[in-house]
Amino acid sequence: MTAQMDRKRRIPGLRLLEALATPHSIDRYLELVHPMLTIRELRGEVTSVHRSTRDSVTLTIRPTRRWRGFTAGQFIRVGVLIDGVRHTRCYSPATSQHSADGRFELTVKAHDNGRVSRWLHANARPGLVLQLAPAEGEFTLPAARPEKVLLISGGSGITPVISMLRTLCAEGHTGEVVFLHYAYTEADVPYLAQLRELAGAHPNVRLLLAYTDVEGGDLHGFFTEEHLRAAAPWFADADTYLCGPPGLMAGAREVFTALGAAHRLRTEDFAPAPITVDAEDATGEITFGRSGTSAANTGRTLLEQAEAAGLKPEYGCRMGICFTCTSVKTSGCTRDVRNGELSTDPDSEIQICVSVPVGDVELDI
């Protein structure tokens, strides 16, 4: 709201322009001139693209003027157009949160069957315009920077923690920072040169690379208590930030718990909880996020289940033609009863009168 108001103050005559453009927003006119001219909608243009490892791509993004920055560790919902459909995925900026021109970098790892990540890896080029949403997430450093920080990452999970490292360095932070990263081999480490440079330039920063598939790193194999003690013997008095593949996350949680330091460990999950694809599965729990209720899945349509739970979602035809019942599915998988098609994407709109849940589903109603 305040962002909107100061925007109004800064663009003279915006109110009049909006009254003239009604019922359409002026962005709907401006974007036809150039997609980056939008005033209210947040977008970002890819200004450079490079590939530092075999399966990842790094995009530099110049956001539109609405952009309000991010805090190291946060993520951004990025909308990508693929064959006419906008797909939204979360990506964590990898640059320092202190940037003079507002630009930031995203590093995306291409997953074998991943729709968006593979598409970006193959097709991103300068000039591509992406949809952005304001940065969000609680995986951030405290405002009073901790004395000792341990940053652990694996694979593409490097992005939020390298952002923390770069932010601390940019702030001239003098406390001890250890950066421990897990990769298959040296060739799979994104930002290798930048990491070495930072460690070289900042005596308080120590870089440790652990390779799981080859020897030659500072450490070898998967995360263990020995790795932890070697990297940061003071871990019990430090703040640890961890982001990586599920195996690394589980391993580290176990070690920290066993050592009684679980409360010092902060984590960020990239991979969504695995989705059941047995389309006939009528198990799981339906969560109605906005109304704060939930119920066990009975296998009926989500509209019927919502009503059974005492909610009164809007509906019209109850047969999938009027779109009155369209609601946002925050997470989980649903099946369209008309054609059996599955919807697995989080934050997507579904017609609840013709959708049945497959396993756990959260709806924003």
Binding site: L16, A19, L20, T22, P23, H24, R28, Y29, L32, G79, L81, D83, G84, V85, R86, H87, T88, G316, C317, M319, G320, I321, C322, F323, T324, T326, R338, N339, S348, E349
Partner: protein, 377 residues
């Protein structure tokens, strides 16, 4: 209710019909993609260009050629905005793109009727209960007698006059339609229940009026009146066009209506059947189809209301073949023919039945001299 008797299908045929059309629908759904997105954005570009050009030309509205050119451009802009873009986007035809700018929940059109009210009356009531007497409030819009099944009343002597007024003020008619005055009168709906509908009407109507009759005219200074009349003319042109196309979609001769009884416990196939029999197409050129928002393919639209309208002409041949396979009529004709048929109906139904129908035979079934069934109760 109609002439002649509706074609009868067996339950198996209904089921097969449902399967045929579901398969066609699925094929269309599977093929949606970048081309459809590009198409609708191209249409938006043309519409916005016409709009900006129209408003721009009208900055010189006291110069008659600019007035004419500006009014033409603005009329076309409003027609495209309401029909190929607004009507179709608000049907959810582009919801699959997950683009908030083209989403049925967010879109508003350049028309005084608030999208949200219209969607309820149109997408839900009209498309679900198409041509069911007493349920589809689009049969005569609560003011006209457009079906023989509506009982005659002296009020209907004014049928042609009401139709003319509805045509001229169509956007306001569509707006007031959502109030359901007929239901308020009969007590089926309470005035207090319309609070939300009225609030939205007020907000939307005010903004539209402010834009067309205050702000843009004021921007042209001393040419205020010329600009305001140009804007009013553009709204009028759009009203006449939209009214004509929409009335040709359901009211030409041969379009069937249904009773609530007939449609109880309808199967998918029976629903499709009602949609096909309750709609009529208008033939014409590709540009004509775009200017009607592809509502010239009302039959295809009623079968697949949520599929991008640009696909209707592509599948019209197949739909027609399916109609032939089951011996169902596929009602189509040029605009003059369909309009004449609608106009004739408006005049005919203004009069009591005895002026045009042959005396009722036993149990509501009337057979004319040439053996054709005229009325079937």
């Amino acid at each position: 209710m109609s002439t002649p008797k509706k074609p009868q299908l067996t339950p198996q045929q209904f089921e097969e019909l449902g399967r045929d059309l579901d398969a066609l629908r699925q094929r269309l759904l599977d093929s949606l993609g970048e081309d459809d997105r590009k198409y609708i954005y191209d249409v938006v570009k043309v519409q916005r260009a016409l709009e900006v050009a129209g408003r721009g030309l009208l900055m010189a509205s006291s110069f008659p050629p600019a007035w004419v050119a500006g009014t033409v451009a603005l009329s076309l802009s409003k027609i495209i905005d309401n029909m190929e873009i607004g009507h179709n986007v608000m049907h959810g035809q582009y919801d699959w793109m997950r683009d908030p700018a083209m989403n049925s929940k967010m879109f508003e059109w350049d028309n005084v009727a608030p999208g949200e009210n219209w969607k309820h009356s149109h997408n839900y009531i009209h498309h679900t209960y198409t041509n069911i007497l007493g349920k589809d409030r689009d049969i005569g819009y609560g003011v006209l007698r457009m079906d023989e099944g509506q009982k005659w009343h002296p009020y209907y002597l004014g049928n042609p006059a009401y139709a003319f007024a509805l045509m001229v003020f169509f956007e306001w008619g569509v707006m007031l339609h959502d109030l359901e005055v007929d239901n308020l009168r009969t007590g089926r709906k309470k005035w207090s229940e319309t609070a939300g509908v009225r609030r939205r009407m007020w907000h939307k109507g005010l903004k539209q009026v402010l834009k067309d009759y205050v702000l843009f005219p004021a921007l042209t200074g001393p040419q205020f009146v010329a600009t305001a009349t140009a804007n009013a003319t553009a709204n009028l042109v759009r009203n006449i066009w939209a009214f004509s196309i929409i009335f040709c979609g359901h009211f030409p001769t041969g379009v069937e209506s249904f009773t609530e009884e007939e449609t109880k416990d309808e199967t998918r196939g029976e629903w499709y059947y009602r949609q096909m029999l309750g709609s009529a197409n208008i033939s014409g050129s590709p540009l004509f189809h775009i200017m009607t928002g592809n509502l010239s393919h009302q039959i295809e639209h009623h079968l697949f209301p949520d599929i991008p309208a640009r696909r209707y002409p592509q599948v019209a041949g197949e739909v027609r073949a399916i109609c032939e396979k089951y011996g169902l009529p596929y009602n189509t004709g040029g605009l003059p023919k369909q309009l004449a048929s609608v106009a004739a109906k408006i005049f005919k139904l203004a009069l009591p039945d005895k002026f045009w129908a042959k005396p009722a035979g036993p149990r509501g079934r009337t057979v004319s001299k040439d053996g054709r069934t005229l009325r079937v109760a």
